[in-house]
Structure formats: C-alpha cells, structure tokens
Amino acid sequence: MDVASKTLETLQLLVRHGVDFIVVGAAAAILEGAPIATLDLDIMPRPSPEDRERLLRALQEIHARYLDPAGRHIVPDAGKLDSLRLHRLVTDLGPLDVLSTIGNGMTYDDLSGETILHDLGEMTVRVLNLAMVIRSKEEANRDKDRAVLPILRRTLQLKEGSST
C-alpha cells in the first residue's frame, strides 16, 4: 500500500454525507495528543439504517473495497456492514477501517458517552477519549496495541496533570 490515509479528507467526506460516527484507534489517540503514527483511520459508525446508508454512499464516492489478500474486488454493502465486526477497506483516500465493536466488544452505544468533540477547522468530529482508547487497546492486546500503550498512558498522565 503506497498511501497513508488522507485522514482529514476522509473525515470531511463522512461529515459531508451526514454519517454519525466516532473516531477510534490510533487516529483518536493522535487527535487526543499522543505523538504516534498510523497508516489508517478507524471509525465506528452509529448502527442505524440511516447512518449505514449514508456511510455506504460516502464509501461509494471514494471507491471503497475490502483489503483482500487474494486481490478480489469486493465492495461493502448493507448486508456486510450489518454482519461483520471489522471492515478493512482501501479507498481513494487511503486505508479505512470501519468497526462495529472495539476491545472486548465495546459498541457505539457503550462509547458514545466517552467521546470528545474536536474542532477540525470547518468541521467538528466526535473522538473517543484517550482513556477509552487505552482501554480498547489493552483489551485488544495485540502486539501493535501493546507497543503504543506506554506512550498513550504517559500522554494521558500529562494531559491530566496539565488540566488540574
């Protein structure tokens, strides 16, 4: 894969299409102030039929298809969005992961009260707070999650220290 996610452009697209979503994962950690890097953008859309349709329209606009090791051209549709937990997509704007749960099964409803609105110039996006990003990565417990946990925890410590 030759392109990093054009995160800002992807967020603008989702907002323009009226998708209700939460930014999660490494992009959320970056927006919360953690000095880490990522190639993709992880989002969790609101699990409603309306948001699913808006998301599908947005994904069609950027020619989203599944990242398939066999090289098949498989595009997301309503059935797949409803039935799969993780959609690892490639788009004209770079990699995009669409998730219905994170960590040990935390859903949109579980996380909607754990978000912060971040002003990104011409738009505002809902971002999972850093404490919950850390929790989701602790629960996922993959090598790549464990690798960033020390700097995420230290960032949270310093954020909390500076806000008191």
């Binding site: 030759d2 392109v3 990093a4 996610s5 054009k6 995160t7 800002l8 992009a27 970056i30 927006l31 102030g33 953690a34 000095p35 880490i36 890097a37 990522t38 190639l39 971040h118 002003d119 990104l120 110039g121 971002v127 020390p150 700097i151 230290r154 960032t155 310093l158 954020k159 500076s162």
Partner: protein, 68 residues
C-alpha cells in the same frame, strides 16, 4: 570543545551539562519522551492530525525513493 568559565554564572549548568542527557532527566523517562508529548499537546487537534499525516506521507515518500 571547551567553554569559557564565567564566575557570575557559576550556579548555571555548563553548556556541556545542559546538552548531556542527565540522569533522571524529566524529559526522557524509560523511553518515553515527555518533551514530545508536551509539544504535541500544545498543538490544536487539526495540527496534530496534519502533522501525523505529513509524517507518514514523508516516510512513504522516502521508502519509495522519491524526492520530497
């Protein structure tokens, strides 16, 4: 390299001491870089995102051998 001594500044760390990674330096603890975190926190969320995206694009350009 040597630096001139200045008795008026005798309590001030020498340039060598300032540049040396002191033991217990609060900026660097067990591989974590507090200075970098503080700098990141000083940016707006938009700038944080732009910085991270620009960093990754630069890395990819380097990997591909393109001039940036």
């Amino acid at each position: 390299m040597s630096f001139p001594s200045d008795t008026a500044d005798k309590d001030r760390p020498s340039p060598q001491e300032e540049l040396a990674p002191a033991q217990g330096n609060p900026g660097v603890a067990e591989g974590e870089d507090d200075v970098l975190i503080h700098w990141m926190l000083s940016l707006t969320p938009l700038k944080r995102l732009e910085m991270a995206q620009g960093f990754m694009e630069g890395l990819i350009a380097l990997r591909n051998g393109r001039r940036v």
